[in-house]
């Protein structure tokens, strides 16, 4: 019989590290039903009958964000035997704010007091017994990063769950607030019990002004009226509104508790170090250049040195596998068509996407390090003003920046955004950051037409992408995502050295995700494209070239691109193959023009395009929907194939419009 425990706590409290310590690698990632909030669960080591659910990092249980809602729903509706509330001991006041609300739920709870090593090493101390007494629940000091106290914690958790020991205290209010909560509790008691909602918790929320609980309880208008009177009276007597009153009460109690149990003589070593480091990293003048330097280093390492070495080695490996498979099939005298399907279709398609894998892993590594050290928060802080113009926050900056490398990790990186509105908007804008797979296309066309001004043209393209992103962002802000964006009120955690284990687990999880996707949707797309390329409509075998289904479909679509200046069947066919991987555009041109080498390809391209048409084509490829891998990533993040497809369609439309404007304007100007 599996028991369910829930892990809850603030962001930056070491929750993920603790979760990893408790569950090892037996983790399962899904999402909460109906929302784009990630749900991680795993079995506790040495207690495999217990499933631990990692709830989102939240600061309170208000009804205002989907993370908080989802957490509340989970705690109330699921049968949770024990709540593990992780608290950052170096930041204990604000962390306990959530704790007081959790206690009101009346579910057996254990408090894991994390980062105790940091507290002790600078001479501070926390009287655990006093804290236990004040809160009415067991408190276990731990250090998740140093792996100490974990076993004690697990023992306490199981003990508390088995004894079904509810929090001994849940009444932290005094005076008028106390009276109001009790009166309300009396009124709603029956309704709350029948609906399975903890009475005390519901009463507090009502007094706080949480209207959603009213709906959940299904009270009569008369009851709601009386409650309204009670809370109005309370406000009148106190002289402040109910929200402030509750928040104030909680913090007053917390301050009292901390005064008695926490001896804080100095800030911790980490906190002092953080101040020193931030003197530079958020320096008025140097913050930006330092950030540029760090990101340049990241990109250099990913795409330059180590990155390209690993990438090439991996590609070589894939190539060898393809050749080997080819030999094996020939030896086994496999049907030629099947051979082609396997080699040119499956392996080639999937292989070209898998060759991204080293690049993606390295990007994830850096992203993980930047996030876990706490630097990302600083980046968001520095960049926020810029991104506010398009209705996003500084948090979206790094995912968009990563998009210049590859859309796939960039889209996955949007998980750090807590607001689903911000997440969706950022996901839509990421593909406009020209990814590195498109570079071969630019290289080809600039070599053919703009050899001398190559750098200039490519820079112009990148800036066009960013400009379009800003414009689309403004449009989205105005028409689709109106209404209050999530407030940018963000904690700046102390800098900490990231745990290698967490980083590895993180990368492993993402790699697994990516490879799984490569093998499903990309496999499908590759096979389909192969099919269309290798057969004509009578299902006779052709050999790429102009009689295959793909080319015919290409020529059917071609007129759509005529106003953009490239309405020939080869261009449209190439663009279609660009859906599996952007580099395919170049290789398709090579195949269709029967160009054996680069020079021949450049000549062929010169025959098909004029310089203006080349520019228009490059602009289109810059902006149109990204590859199938990105589509799969978007689908995964938004949990909707329809949504992802719609976004792709929208991006392609934008690409069409911009390329149209470029071409027609060029024609008018006589280019």
């Amino acid at each position: 019989m599996t028991k369910t425990f829930a892990l809850i706590g603030n962001q930056n409290s070491g929750k993920t590290t603790l979760f990893n310590r408790l569950t090892g690698s037996s983790q399962h990632v899904g999402n909460f039903p109906g929302v784009t909030v990630e749900k991680k669960s795993g079995l506790i080591r040495r207690h495999k009958e217990i499933e631990l659910v990692d709830l989102p990092g939240i600061y309170s249980l208000s009804p205002y964000s989907s993370e908080e809602q989802v957490t509340l729903d989970f705690l109330i509706k699921e049968d949770v035997q024990c709540i593990v509330n992780i608290v950052d001991a170096t930041n204990i006041e604000r962390n306990l704010y959530l704790t007081l609300q959790i206690l009101e739920l009346g579910i057996p709870t254990v408090l894991a007091l994390n980062m105790m090593d940091e507290v002790i090493s600078c001479g501070n101390s926390i009287d655990v017994c006093k804290l236990e007494e004040a809160l009415g629940i067991p408190v276990v000091p731990i250090s998740a990063s140093k792996n100490s106290g974990i076993d004690d914690l697990v023992d306490k958790m199981t003990e508390t769950a088995d004894s079904r020991k509810k929090p001994a205290k849940y009444d932290f209010c005094t005076g008028e607030v106390h009276r109001a909560i009790h009166s309300v509790a009396h009124i709603i008691e029956q309704a709350a019990v029948s609906k399975g909602i903890p009475v005390r918790f519901a009463a507090s929320k009502i007094v706080e002004g949480d209207l959603k609980i009213f709906d959940d309880l299904g009270l009569t208008p008369a009851e709601i009226d009386i409650i309204g009177h009670i809370t109005d009276e309370m406000e009148g007597l106190l002289g402040i509104d109910r929200e402030s009153a509750l928040a104030d009460m909680r913090y007053v109690y917390i301050e009292k508790v901390c005064a008695e149990s926490v001896a804080r003589l100095c800030s911790t070593a980490q906190q002092q170090q953080t101040l020193k480091i931030d003197r530079w990293l958020t320096h008025r003048i140097f913050a930006l250049p330092i950030f540029v330097g760090i990101m340049t280093l990241v990109f250099y390492l990913t795409f330059g040195l180590a990155g390209s070495f690993l990438s090439d080695a991996f590609s070589l490996l894939i190539e060898k596998i393809v050749l080997l498979t080819g030999d094996l099939m020939r030896a086994a005298d496999v049907n030629m068509t099947i051979q082609s399907l396997v080699t040119d279709g499956i392996l080639s398609g999937v292989g070209s996407v898998l060759s991204f894998l080293p690049t993606i892993l390295i990007l994830f590594f850096f992203l993980s390090v930047l996030e876990d050290t706490g630097y990302m928060a600083r980046v968001a802080f520095v960049m926020d003003k810029l991104l506010r113009r398009i209705g996003l926050s500084g948090r979206s900056f790094v995912p968009m920046l990563i998009g210049f490398g590859c859309s796939v990790p960039a889209i996955m990186a949007t998980r750090t955004l807590t607001s689903s509105r911000d997440r969706k908007m950022t996901i839509i804008l990421i593909p406009f950051m020209s990814c590195s797979a498109k570079v071969p296309i630019y290289v080809l066309f600039t070599a053919a037409f703009f050899a001398s001004g190559r750098a200039l043209v490519m820079t112009a393209l990148y800036f066009t992408g960013m400009l379009v992103a800003v414009l689309v962002g403004l449009v989205l802000k105005r028409f689709m995502y109106k209404g209050e964006p999530t407030p940018f009120i963000m904690e700046l955690p102390a800098y900490r050295f990231p745990s290698p284990k967490s980083i590895l687990l993180d990368i492993y999880g993402k790699a697994k995700d990516f490879v799984q996707r490569a093998f499903t949707i990309i496999l499908l797309a590759s096979v389909v494209i192969w099919l269309l390329q290798s057969f004509d409509f009578s299902f006779n075998r052709v050999d790429g070239g102009s009689t295959g289904m793909l080319a015919i479909i290409g020529s059917l679509i071609a007129p759509v691109f005529a106003p953009l200046g490239f309405g020939d069947w080869m261009s449209s066919t190439a663009l279609i193959t660009g859906l599996t991987a952007k580099e395919a555009v170049v290789s398709t041109f090579a195949v269709l023009t029967s160009s054996a080498d680069n020079n021949m390809l450049i000549d062929s391209v010169r025959n098909i395009f004029t310089p203006l048409q080349a520019v228009s084509f490059m602009v289109f490829t810059l902006l149109y929907m990204p590859c199938v891998a990105a589509l799969a990533a978007v689908r995964r993040e938004l949990h909707s194939l329809a949504g992802a497809s719609l976004i792709m369609l929208a991006q392609t439309t934008v690409a069409w419009i911009v390329a149209f404007m470029v071409y027609q304007t060029g024609m008018l100007l006589g280019f």
Binding site: Y59, S60, S62, Y64, S65, T90, N91, I92, E93, R94, Y97, I240, E243, S244, A247, D248, Y251, R264, S267, T274, L275, T282, H283, R284, I285, A287, L288, A377, A380, F381, V382, D384, K385, L386, R388, E484, T486, P487, F488, I489, M490, E491, L492, P493
Partner: protein, 79 residues
């Protein structure tokens, strides 16, 4: 006097929090309650947002939102 007008390096005591809805709740939840003492650490390179130190941690908020927080001045702090 509102929080957005407090200069870097200075402290202030919160007297009231205006605004409504999710934003206000968030400010309260994060510990910006009446009578709390906060220190304005610095501003971002582009002038916005600002970093506050309170209750033993650091919080970044936009000036626009800080404008909702009414404060009274206290003496300057020197790090």
């Amino acid at each position: 006097m509102t929080l957005d007008k407090i200069k870097a390096g200075n402290s202030a005591r919160i007297t009231a929090i205006a605004g409504q809805g999710p934003l206000r709740r968030r400010l309260l939840d994060m510990g910006l309650t009446p009578r709390t003492i906060i220190n304005v650490v610095k501003l971002a390179p582009m002038g916005d947002p600002m970093i506050l130190a309170l209750r033993g941690y650091e919080l970044s908020i936009r000036k626009e939102d800080a404008g909702l927080i009414a404060v009274e001045n206290i003496r300057e702090t020197h790090e």
